[in-house]
């Protein structure tokens, strides 16, 4: 569908791989990846501010952590998105998820999906992060409940577990 005045496309069919599944959806130019992911049923991607302040909507786009509220869905066309459900789940938990559970890294849980994906991107980049690395890596993700201490310890434990596994996460 094109705009009658400008001739520019107003909607287009995009193909986004979400957690390994191809999703085709017709999207207007202005819609954010956050809105489209939630429309596709991925409500594990949380909305906290819609302007990139809080990080609750963070996902991995081709492995890079982005705020999905600041990413237009068109920019995810033919790219891969990972949400926290794509990282792992019951019976196949990612070491980060196991560590968040064991360390009590979640209280109200609303920041948790974005927080875990920011941590995943951090560990992909720095497998053995210092405390300062972790603090910097999470600086775009707000948490109001935990004081972050258990989030930090969970990430360090997960980093160690991943290094012991010997592979990348």
């Amino acid at each position: 569908m094109t705009d009658k005045k400008t001739g520019m496309a107003r909607e287009k069919l995009v193909n986004i791989h979400v957690n390994g599944t191809a999703c085709e959806i017709t999207v207007p130019a202005w819609r954010t990846l956050l809105e489209v992911l939630r429309e596709l049923g991925h409500v594990e991607v949380k909305c906290g501010c819609e302007k990139g302040d809080c990080g609750a909507c963070a996902v991995l786009l081709d492995g890079e952590v982005v705020d999905s509220c600041l990413t237009l869905a068109w920019n995810a066309d033919r790219r891969s998105v990972m949400t926290v459900q794509g990282l792992g789940g019951p019976g196949k938990a990612h070491p980060l998820q196991t560590a968040f559970i064991e360390h009590g890294g979640a209280q109200c849980g609303y920041c948790t999906p974005g927080m875990i994906l920011a941590a995943k991107a951090l560990l992909d980049d720095i497998p053995n992060p210092s405390l300062d690395d972790i603090k910097r890596g999470l600086s775009g993700n707000l948490c109001r409940c935990t004081g972050y201490t258990r989030i930090f310890s969970a990430i360090r434990a997960a980093a160690q577990a991943l290094r012991q596994e010997g592979g990348t996460s």
Binding site: C47, C54, T83, P90, C108, G109, T112, R136, G147, R150
Partner: protein, 775 residues
């Protein structure tokens, strides 16, 4: 006072198999896997999306609200204004106890009619096919405002001739305490120390904005699934829209942070109206900017302490005044002022005391509940004053505290005798010791240590006659169900009930499922506020589980021909103590019960202690069930050139009575450390003539991961609380001393006391310049 004995109080923690242990909370996996459902995640077939028009003016007449163009927009299903509501419309923002008494003037219009009293007051509601259409419709509503004089400062509001915000005058509430002989007390003093402390608006800044879904079901019941701390709001919704109470069902989903901001009703009644008008499911998730306008922030307080002390640090007289800014509607301001008044003396015994407190209506944002509920502001002044007294006397401030700590058996500010343990000294000493050695100052950095103690109540005000119900039952396969309408707001409220039940019935915690937060099908549990959820619902659950245990052991005792007292339960087995061969599985035991027709479940009600109120002239009387005591210590580094404060260490030491889940209680201490740091140093909602200037999380700054100091929780267990197994409430108490400890540490570092929070770099630099000029 009617006090319920706790049958298991005083049992030492080493006897527990599960209570007190850092077990994995039942809600952790679902939150970490991203499968936990929050109110804004819910959808229904045919669902519409809501949007709200909030006032742009702080004080204005509404000459006309024209919705014609909004209604004509394709995709719009309904637009509601005050014109569509009965003339008597309004919602009670009070939180009555079980007997329903309400404070005066707590009815607030659902939608503004004729006049708006604050910037953000709701004017119109829209339900449409999409969020985008609903937002477009909001933009098409024409509002013709005529500005009228407003008042934006509580002292101005109380002055003669001030514009009246509502009612007869701008006094929302006032209290006084008259205890002992204040004149005699001041006469006995060697010195008198007087200071005024001010605190700012603080925003809850929960990560999940207000969200709810409402619809009318096949039974003609109005259903609301919401992010709320209070399931019992179904009654207020029903009263506001004229439905019987049994036709409104409110369910609390997992709440993405509450902190008091989801205590008074937020968006539920708007959705109720839209669902009834459209006969479609309607969902609203408030955009962050409007979330700031949809709940009340923490009240700004102005607090003056005039303290008479002897040369050796004993307080002989204390005169305190509080003025708080209630904003444009009362909400919970009268109760919050009461909490401040009762908490005026902090954890100290003061025999000669005058307190005068007043809360004033203004055209600012209506302030409301926030973790600490007025007590923490009162405490901040107390603890700052301790430092000033110590400085005046040339004493160590901990020594001044020790001379004045309240002790078990003493009367507090309202004459209530403290019955539980008071471990203020132990907590403060341990927290300070944990800071360790003070690092060296550098050329531009000054290190400071600070400590603060507190007294914070848990449980609701006694004349609300609070109670909570819980149901515990064992299934035929030996698994366990708990039913409680407690709202799970992220502190582990439902998980604690599983842990208590698992302990009593001797099953692994994973064998227990807790159904929570449903006003229609789980027994009503009261609010998840006032640090009462564990205290009240924990006790009810403990009572129900204990009775189920008695029934099971009764059957097993008859089977083994022993007395029930000779039996125990663990690992899903019922066995004769000391004779492991005589045992059976819990499911075999349950089958015996079933065969004998013995109940395998129990519905229990826990009733809190009650009183009939305080004397209005003296402020004397019992107000709360009990109090929690503890301390927080902080180490800061202040850059004297830039005024920047880095918190290096933040250590909370608290007597929690008995930890139910050690990891969860430590988590409360850690989270409060950072939230209190924000209050001390950087958080402030800024209003100009009632207009909110800080409408996003990039303008209202909460601490981030990069601001996190070394945080430590020290947990002490006196076993003296009124909660299950001797526990005390901790959600608010652990927050109460944090900001004061950081403020005191800054004073220690720079040698100047900044009496006005937040302590920003600008204030520090100015104070240091003034000190150079003066001194």
């Amino acid at each position: 006072m009617n006090r319920m004995e706790n049958p298991l109080a005083g049992v030492k923690s080493e006897k527990f198999r599960q209570v007190g242990k850092p077990l994995i909370r039942t809600d952790s996996p679902t939150k970490v896997y991203g499968t936990a459902v929050y109110a804004g995640d819910l959808t229904m077939p045919g669902m519409l999306y809501a949007a709200v028009l909030h006032s742009e003016r702080a004080s204005a007449l509404l000459r006309r609200v024209d919705t014609t163009r909004a209604k004509e927009l394709p995709g719009v299903h309904c637009v509601l204004t005050a014109e569509d509501l009965p003339a008597s419309q309004g919602v009670m923002t009070d939180m009555p106890g079980q007997t329903g008494g309400m404070t005066k003037n707590t009815k607030q219009p659902i939608l503004a009619k004729d006049r708006v009293r604050f910037c953000g007051e709701p004017i119109a509601l829209v339900a449409a096919e999409s969020v985008a259409i609903a937002e477009q419709a909001i933009g098409l509503i024409d509002v013709d405002y005529q500005d009228i004089d407003g008042v934006y400062d509580p002292f101005d509001a109380l002055a003669p001739g001030a514009p009246i915000v509502y009612g007869d005058d701008n006094v929302v509430a006032s209290y006084k305490i008259r205890k002992g002989d204040i004149e005699k007390g001041f006469a006995e003093a060697d010195v008198i120390v007087e200071n005024t402390f001010t605190t700012q608006y603080q925003e809850q800044a929960f990560l999940e904005p207000e969200a709810a879904l409402a619809w009318v079901d096949e039974l003609e019941v109005l259903n609301i699934r919401s992010s709320t701390q209070v399931v019992e709001h179904y009654r207020a919704v029903a009263d506001a829209i004229g439905l019987p109470h049994n036709r409104v069902r409110l369910r609390a989903e997992f709440v993405g942070g509450g902190f008091g901001g989801k205590e008074v009703m937020t968006i539920e009644v708007w959705l109720a109206l839209l669902a009834l008008a459209s006969r479609r499911p309607v969902r609203l998730v408030q955009p962050r900017e409007r979330s700031f306008l949809s709940h009340g922030p923490r009240h700004p307080f102005n607090i003056t302490h005039r303290t008479g002390v002897t040369r050796d640090g004993k307080i002989t007289a204390l005169q305190i005044s509080f003025t708080s800014d209630a904003g444009a509607y009362a909400k919970l301001s009268p109760y919050i002022l009461l909490y401040a008044t009762v908490g005026a003396t902090g954890p100290y015994r003061v025999d000669n005391l005058h307190v005068d407190s007043v809360s004033a209506a203004t055209n600012n944002l209506p302030a409301c509940a926030f973790r600490g509920f007025g007590t923490m502001q009162a405490n901040l002044a107390c603890e700052g004053q301790m430092e000033e007294i110590a400085k005046t006397l040339g004493m160590d401030s901990m020594e001044v505290r020790r001379r004045n700590f309240i002790r078990t058996g003493d009367a507090n500010a309202t004459g209530q005798i403290i019955r539980s343990a008071v471990w203020s000294d132990q907590c403060a000493t341990q927290a300070l010791a944990a800071l360790g050695k003070r690092p060296e100052n550098s050329q531009t950095t000054r290190i400071g240590h600070g400590v603060a103690c507190y007294q914070q109540s848990y449980g609701r005000i006694l004349w609300m006659k609070d109670s909570s119900e819980a149901w515990v039952g064992v299934e035929m396969d030996g698994t366990v169900v708990v039913r409680s309408a407690v709202a799970d707001i992220g502190g582990g409220q439902s998980s604690a009930l599983a842990q208590i039940t698992a302990e009593i019935l001797g099953v692994p915690m994973k064998e227990v499922v807790v159904y929570f937060g449903d006003g229609a099908v789980t027994p009503l549990a009261g609010t998840s506020t006032a640090s009462r959820a564990l205290y009240m619902s924990g006790n009810a659950t403990q009572m129900a589980a204990t009775r189920v245990r008695e029934n099971l052991l009764g059957c097993a005792g008859r089977h083994f021909s022993v007395e029930a007292e000779e039996l125990d339960m663990n690992d899903s087995q019922v066995f004769v103590v000391g004779d492991p061969k005589r045992s059976m599985t819990i499911n075999d035991c349950v089958k015996l019960c079933a065969a004998e027709g013995v109940h395998r479940h129990n519905l229990a009600i826990f009733k809190a202690p009650t009183s009939e109120g305080i004397d209005p002239e003296t402020g004397q009387g019992e107000v709360f069930p009990d109090f929690t005591y503890g301390a927080h210590a902080a180490q800061v580094a202040v850059d004297i050139e830039t005024g920047e404060v880095r918190v290096l260490q933040s250590i909370g030491a608290h007597d929690v009575g008995q930890a139910i889940n050690l990891r969860a209680v430590e988590g409360q201490v850690e989270g409060s450390a950072l939230m209190g740091q924000g209050f001390a140093l950087c958080e402030e909602l800024i209003l100009e003539q009632g207009q909110l200037q800080t409408r996003s999380l990039s303008e209202y700054l909460i601490p981030t991961s990069e601001d996190v100091p070394k945080i430590k929780a020290i947990i002490l267990e006196s076993g003296s609380g009124l909660g299950p197994f001797g526990s005390k409430g901790i959600g608010e108490p652990v927050y109460a001393p944090v900001a004061a400890s950081i403020a005191n540490a800054v004073t220690d570092a720079i040698g100047v006391h900044i009496f006005e929070l937040p302590i920003t770099p600008e204030k520090i630099v100015k104070a240091l310049r003034r000190k150079e000029t003066v001194g």
